[in-house]
């Protein structure tokens, strides 16, 4: 019996905007797919992108990174650091053979509950279409693990 593939998503979100936004999704009872596991951080600036690779290494099929909109960072500039590092990091994950479509980088404010739901749904559907992520071997080659 072949079970339909259900992707595993890991979300790295900041405590002030996106985590709060996701809370609002709950308070507003907006439904979304249950595939995502949230890692709460103080700020997207805290994201060490090795964590993203680790997430894939540990069997995530997709990753969501989301924090405050530009200028809205609770810590003034954390999200800018995150964005800058993401720009560099994109190329790396591309290099290690992770389809960029598996990673979503987004801004969601504390007031955008509905946006969180649609972000999770879109990413889940996209990754489900891409199928399970299996190229961990390539990661190993890239010296992770």
């Amino acid at each position: 019996m072949a079970e339909p593939f259900e992707p595993k998503l890991t979300a790295f979100v900041c405590n002030w905007c996106t985590y709060a936004g996701a809370d609002l999704t709950g308070t507003s009872r907006i439904k979304y797919q249950a595939n995502v596991r949230v890692i709460r951080l103080p700020c997207t600036g805290r994201i060490d992108f090795m964590m993203v690779l680790k997430a894939f290494a540990r069997g995530s099929d997709g990753v969501i990174i989301s924090g405050c909109h530009p200028n809205d960072c609770h810590y003034t500039s954390g999200n800018y650091h995150a964005r800058r590092r993401w720009m560099v990091f994109r190329d790396l994950i591309d290099f290690v053979g992770i389809d960029l479509a598996r990673v979503t980088f987004s801004w969601i404010s504390a007031a955008e509950g509905a946006k969180w739901a649609s972000l999770v749904n879109e990413t889940t559907d996209r990754v489900r279409a891409l199928g399970p992520y299996q190229e961990i071997g390539k990661l190993a080659a890239a010296g992770i693990e």
Partner: protein, 663 residues
């Protein structure tokens, strides 16, 4: 081997309704390091917390995971309980089974599975938590209130009356805000200025209140209890200490044809002016843009005639820095410009006005002395049409939300018009009458039953001019959508309430969150309505959402109470979520290589160099050092650090990677 206890909350049906809580507790027991797990109806209830304490003691737990609602909701609660049971509060973590799981997914195995995962993540994290001591910081017991409308006035007075110094900052030349422009107030029809003016005077007189009008906040640094506010005091071009408000300058100023903002352009003012008679402070300002002297460097009439030589043409803006412990945002609202309504012919049609203009027409202190005269020819309009929901509940061209106050003020306007123009006809086009409030609906009924205002349910499609009259093309949806065409002398639009133009910019300066319409966001929609997500910054009035006067005043007092509560503590304890630099025994001393990338990345200048010296006092090594008083715990430095020598307490690499390992 750690001894973690897991406590699964049903939250009544909120969690248990969709998640198999028993199964979650079962699964938790099987997780390495978990020695006890239970589920209970309400963990936050008294019995629930007693259970928690008891288990911590009985099982000698060294870690606690409460699987319940969002940590943003109850983390403080459960950490307090943990503390009361003698365990370090920072050994307690929460798994968010409600907002992030039961409320957003349907009942079923997938949802329960997710719940179990969420618990596992926290278990793995908490096993690596360290006992931390909260950071103690002093509080500057002085409040900054931003905005001098009724909200700011109320908040300032309440805080000051509790014995705390207050800095009240207003950007216009006088306090009073929109309320000082209003004629009479619903539902009691008492005169707005009669009830407001005494409060304004009280503010000016209050020994604890420093009033800074014609001033704006430029920058805010620091954190709760320890803010540093940079304020620009715009040059009034007069010496306030000398001016006695005699008003000669206004009378003698040759430039008199400047549209008066206070009167919504229905009257003119001079270039040197006091915005209105009851202004506080009663000191003029020179409007540099229109003053003859600043254009041609001639005139100086005011300077020549000022009995106290208070005029200072060369006065410059002053920048002041103030230390404050808390902020109250009371920056108010604006109404949607009527130019946004081409279908209501604005721009061309001078007799299509908005509610604020009508307030000035109806106000005894207004340009017409309270007589309703239409702008175009000063005649008393014989038929006035009031259009509710102009821009409100209009997601296409306006704002999707309900502006809340329009139904009431429109009823008031129609009523006042009927009182003032005998035999005049008042017609109100409305979609729904929303009059939820103490004796509000009675008020609307009175307008209809006693004052004979005719209410038509339907939206107006167009207002245009024909043969010198305004034609209002409306509809009566209660007559099956029958078109209604009214020839009116004046049309009043109840334009939508919006956030101030610069609300977003201000929010960004203060790092408070705001909604898509730029209203400032409260920390919790129900339970923390006057707090923002940024500790130490509170909200009052229409800068948070459309509000009427009673609500605004109540909210302002609420914010004031929060500030007083904060100031009543001897000192603040802050969460020890701060960065620490690794230190170890010689010869290494620290894994920090002193590249100090972190120093530049830190938004709070909390990182500095530290020279490690030997006994001889020679510098052996330079490493980074964090000032826990300044560090806010964003963790940017940690992510940057190449040697992982700097780490964030509470969100350490160990903890986070542990979470990831069990994904």
């Amino acid at each position: 081997m750690s001894r973690v206890g897991v406590f699964v909350c049903h939250c009544g049906e909120n969690i248990a309704g969709t998640v198999d809580v028993a199964a979650v507790a079962q699964a938790a027991l099987a997780m390495p390091g978990v020695v006890a797990a239970l589920d209970y109806k309400y963990m936050c209830s008294d019995p629930g917390q007693t259970m928690l304490k008891k288990l911590i003691a009985d099982e000698r737990l060294d870690g606690v995971v409460v699987a319940a609602c969002s940590p943003r909701m109850h983390e403080p609660t459960f950490r307090r309980t943990t503390l009361e049971s003698g365990l370090n509060p920072f050994l307690c973590e929460m798994a968010n089974l409600r907002e992030h799981c039961s409320w957003v997914h349907d009942k079923g195995p997938a949802t329960t599975a997710k719940a179990i995962d969420l618990v596992r993540l926290q278990v793995e994290k908490v096993k690596r938590n360290r006992a931390l001591a909260p950071i103690r910081v002093p509080i500057t017991k002085k409040a900054l209130v931003l905005g001098g409308g009724i909200a700011g006035i109320q908040a300032a007075l309440d805080i000051a009356n509790a014995g705390n110094p207050v800095l009240l900052v207003e950007r216009s030349p006088s306090i009073g805000g929109h309320m000082s422009q209003l004629s009479e107030t619903f539902p009691t029809l008492d005169c707005s200025q009669c009830i407001l003016t005494p409060r304004m005077v009280e503010v000016a007189r209050h020994p604890q209140i420093t009033l800074l009008t014609y001033a704006e906040l430029e920058k805010l640094e620091g954190f709760i209890g320890n803010f540093r506010a940079t304020i620009r005091r715009k040059a009034r071009k007069i010496d306030e200490s000398l001016c006695n408000g005699c008003g000669v300058c206004q009378q003698k100023c040759p430039v008199k044809k400047i549209p008066d903002a206070f009167n919504e352009g229905l009257a003119n003012r001079s270039a040197i002016y006091v915005p209105f008679a009851q202004a506080v402070p009663n000191k003029p300002v020179i409007d540099v843009a229109s003053c003859t002297f600043f254009k041609t460097s001639k005139c100086k009439a005011c300077e020549k005639l000022c009995p106290t030589q208070a005029i200072r043409f060369d006065q410059e803006d002053k920048i002041e820095v103030h230390e404050v412990g808390a902020l109250v945002l009371a920056t108010g609202y604006r109404t949607m410009p009527v130019a946004n309504f081409p279908e209501y012919g604005y721009g061309q049609l001078t007799d299509v006005i908005d509610g604020m203009k009508f307030e000035r027409l109806a106000s005894a202190s207004g340009p017409t002395g309270g007589a309703i005269k239409r702008p175009s020819d000063g005649k008393a309009p014989q038929h006035v049409v009031f259009i509710a929901c102009a821009g409100s509940r209009d997601r296409a061209k306006g704002v999707p939300y309900c502006s809340k106050i329009c139904c009431m003020y429109t009823a008031k306007h129609a009523m006042l018009y009927r009182h003032k123009v005998h035999g005049g006809k008042a017609t109100v086009f409305y979609m729904d009458v929303r009059a939820a409030g103490k004796s509000y609906d009675e008020f609307v009924r009175r307008a209809i039953e006693v004052d004979g205002v005719s209410y038509i349910r339907g939206r107006v499609s167009r207002v245009y001019e024909e043969d010198g009259q305004l034609v209002v093309k409306g509809v009566d949806t209660l007559l099956g959508g029958e078109p209604v065409e009214i020839r009116a002398d004046m049309v009043v639009l109840a334009t939508a309430v919006e956030a101030q133009d610069d609300a977003e910019k201000l929010a960004q300066t203060l790092h408070v969150s705001y909604d898509p319409y730029h209203f400032f966001a409260e920390a919790h929609p129900k339970l923390r309505p006057v707090e923002t997500n940024t500790a130490g910054i509170f909200l009052a009035g229409a800068c948070q959402a459309p509000r009427d006067i009673p609500e605004t005043v109540a909210q302002a007092s609420g914010a004031a109470a929060k500030v007083c509560g904060l100031f009543s503590q001897p000192e603040l304890t802050r969460e020890p979520v701060v960065a620490v630099v690794d230190r170890q025994a010689p010869p290494l001393f620290s894994s920090c290589t002193g590249c100090l990338l972190c120093k530049d990345a830190c938004p709070y200048q909390a990182i500095s160099e530290e020279a490690i010296k030997n006994r001889a006092g020679e510098v052996i090594k330079t490493v980074a050092q964090v000032n826990p008083g300044l560090c806010q715990g964003c963790g940017t430095c940690v992510a940057l650090c190449r040697t992982k020598a700097i780490d964030l307490q509470g969100f350490s690499n160990q903890q986070l990677f542990a979470e990831l390992m069990c994904i």
